[in-house]
Subunit: 334 residues, 2 copies
DNA sequence: CGAATTGTTGCAACCGGTTGCAAGATTCAA
DNA sequence: TTGAATCTTGCAACCGGTTGCAACAATTCG
C-alpha cells in the first residue's frame, strides 16, 4: 500500500541509506544522487514514515497538550495558538482531555506510551503533582497558567495571581467602592486561591473587610449566574470581582434580572478579557491576562527543552492590566 | 532511559515474545508466565512503546482531527467531545489547525507521515476535494458538518442545510414577517450556500422576495456586527436569519446600538444554538444543530472504518429544530 | 495408558527507517 | 601529476516491538 524506502532505493538505483539521507536534514548526499532519489520518490509518491523514524531516532516530534477545561472560550484561543505555533515549528500536538479523567496517572501513561517529546499542561486547576509526575519521568514539561514555584523541575509560564488579586482590590477601592465582594472560580484552582489571597491582603491594607466571598463551581456562565443569585438573596454589595469573565457575565445577567443597572447600582470587574468581554451587551471592565504571550512562551520553552537549547529558563510571570470598559463607575476626578 | 521489552524478558526469565504476548490483547500466554512478566514489568515500570508497536502492526491508533475554525465557541464542544470519545475508545487525536494553512495538501502530507489510522474533518468551509484527497489515499475519512453527496468515498455526517434554510424562511413567515433578510456566514462555505438555496426557494414558494442577502466575512461577533451596520445604513428589515449565533449576536448588538428593540422592532433567528444563545442578554431564538450527535456519529463511524466493522454506512442527515426564545415575535394565535 | 487435541513457548524474520564505519570517489594544493 | 584531505556511498547493525511457525507441554478422550 504505502511506499517504503526500499522501493525508492531500488527505483533510483541507490542504497537505502542514500534515500534516507536525502530526506534527513544536513546529511551528506551528492546533488546527483539527491536528484535521482527525488525523482524516484516523486514518481512513487513516497513520504518517509515518521513512525519508523521515531523508532530509530528516539524523537517523535509529538507534544502532549493537556487541558481540563474545554468549555471556556479562552481555550479556543489557547488551542488555536498552541496548534498553530507547534505546527509551524514542525511539531504536532497530541491532545489529552482531562475534563472527566479522574486519574491523571492514566493520562500520563498514555502520553508516555506515545513517547511524546514534551508536554504542555494548560490549566490552573490541576494539582502541581501532575506536571511534576511528568518531569520526574524525564519528559520536558511546561505548565502554562500554573502557579510559580510550586514544584521543582517544572517550568511555569503564567501570571502572578496574587498580584492580580491585589490589583482588583485596589482598582475597586480607587473607584470609591467600599462594599466589595469576590466571586471566584472553583476554589480548588490555585489561581483562585492566589487571587483570593492577594485580594484579601490588599483589602486589609486598605482597612476593608470583604463584603462577601464565594466561589462558582466551574468556569461557566450558569455557575456565575447561580452564585450571584444566591449572593443577591442574602445581601447587597457595591461591586464584585469575578474570577473569570464568563462567571462575571452570568453574574451580571443575574443582577440585571433582579432589576439592577450596571454600573449605576453595582459594579463588575472580570478576569481574562476574553473576546466576549468586549461585546456591547456586557462591555465588561476586566483584568487582561496575556494569553497569547503565555502560550507563545510555553511553546518556545518546551521546544527549547526538547532541542536542549534552553536559553532563558528563568521564566518571569507576565503582567496583567486593567481593560477599561463600562461595568465600573469611573475614577473620581482628582 | 526507558525500559524495553528485552529487559523485562531477561528479568522475568522468559523470551521477548512472551512479554509481548502478555501485553497484547487476546494472545496466548499461560497464567504463570503472565504473572512473572507482570511482576517484572511492574518492578521496572515498563510501558510498551506504541511507536514500535505501530511500526510492527501498521496501526497507530492515531486519528487526525482537522479543523479550520478555532475561534467559534461551537468548536469548544466539538473538541471536547471528539477528544473525549476518542480517548474512551483508546484512540488519540492528532490535531491539525487549518486556520491559516493555505495549502491543504501540506496538511495531508503531514497526517500521512504520521500514518494516522483515520481522519475526521470538522468543517463546512473546506472544499470537498480536501476530504476526497484523503479518501483517495486510502485513509478512512469522515467529514463532519459536510455537504452530503458531494464526493464519492467520503462519509459525511451532518445536517441538511437546504432544509434548514427552508425551515428558517418558513419560521419567519409563520410569525408574520414579510420583509426578511439573510445574513449568512462566509459565502464560500457549502453550509452557507445550501442554507441560502433552501431559504430562497421556500421564500419563493411563499411568494416573497428576500429583503436583503449578505454575508459575514467569518463566523465572528464583529463580522456580524459590521455586516448589520452596513445593512442598517442601507435599508430596514423586519427580521433576519443569521448563519451562525455568533454572527447573530453581533447583528443584534448593532441593531440595539441604533436604538432598536428586539423583538419589537426587528426579529432575529440564529443558527447552532450555542451556549451563549441562552444567555439572557441575548435570549436568542435559533435553529439547533445537533452537534453532539454529529460528533458521536463521526467518531463511531471513523472507528468502525478503521476496525473494518462498518455497520451502517448509510449516514442520514440529522434533523435540526427551532429553539424558541425571545428574539422573534410569537406565532399569531390561530 | 496411548493417541489425539489443544495450549504455550521461543526462534527468527520483519515493520521502515537511521547511522557509525570503512572503503571508494573527488577535490584541492603543491 | 601526486598525495592528502574531504565527500559520498553502501554495508550492516540497530531502534522496540509483533507474529508465523515448529517444537514441546498439558489436557482430553477412548
Amino acid at each position: 500500500m504505502t511506499v517504503t524506502l526500499k522501493e525508492v532505493a531500488e527505483r533510483a538505483g541507490v542504497s537505502r541509506s542514500a534515500v534516507s539521507r536525502t530526506f534527513t536534514e544536513g546529511a551528506s548526499v551528492s546533488a546527483k544522487t539527491r536528484e535521482k532519489v527525488q525523482k524516484a520518490a516523486d514518481e512513487l509518491g513516497y513520504r518517509p514514515s515518521l513512525i519508523a523514524r521515531s523508532l530509530a531516532t528516539n524523537r517523535t516530534r509529538l507534544i502532549g497538550l493537556v487541558a481540563n477545561n474545554f468549555r471556556n472560550p479562552v481555550f479556543l484561543e489557547v488551542f488555536d495558538l498552541f496548534t498553530r505555533v507547534l505546527q509551524e515549528r514542525g511539531f504536532r500536538p497530541l491532545l489529552v482531555n482531562l475534563s472527566t479523567e479522574t486519574d491523571p496517572q492514566k493520562s500520563l501513561e498514555m502520553l508516555k506510551q506515545y513517547r511524546v517529546d514534551g508536554i504542555i499542561i494548560a490549566t490552573s486547576t490541576l494539582p502541581p503533582t501532575f506536571p511534576h509526575a511528568f518531569s520526574k519521568a524525564g519528559v520536558p514539561v511546561v505548565h502554562a497558567f500554573g502557579r510559580f514555584g510550586s514544584e521543582a523541575g517544572v517550568h511555569v509560564v503564567g501570571i502572578d495571581n496574587v498580584r492580580c488579586g491585589e490589583m482588583a482590590a485596589q482598582t475597586l477601592f480607587d473607584r470609591g467602592y467600599r462594599s466589595i465582594a469576590l466571586l471566584g472560580g472553583p476554589q480548588s484552582a490555585t489561581s483562585t486561591q492566589d487571587r483570593l489571597a492577594g485580594f484579601l491582603s490588599r483589602l486589609k491594607e486598605l482597612g476593608l473587610e470583604p463584603a462577601d466571598i464565594r466561589f462558582a463551581d466551574n468556569y461557566s456562565y450558569s455557575a456565575g449566574k447561580e452564585a450571584m443569585k444566591a449572593l443577591l438573596a442574602e445581601k447587597s454589595v457595591e461591586a464584585l470581582f469575578c474570577g473569570d469573565d464568563l462567571i462575571c457575565m452570568g453574574a451580571m445577567d443575574a443582577a440585571r434580572g433582579s432589576g439592577m443597572k450596571i454600573p449605576q447600582d453595582i459594579g463588575f470587574l472580570g478576569f481574562n478579557d476574553m473576546n466576549m468581554a468586549g461585546w456591547s451587551a456586557y462591555d465588561l471592565t476586566t483584568i487582561r491576562q496575556p494569553v497569547r504571550d503565555i502560550i507563545l512562551k510555553s511553546v518556545t520553552l518546551v521546544i527549547e527543552m526538547v532541542d536542549d537549547t534552553e536559553q532563558d529558563a528563568d521564566t518571569q510571570p507576565f503582567d496583567c492590566s486593567i481593560v477599561e470598559r463600562g461595568t465600573l463607575r469611573p475614577l473620581p476626578a482628582s
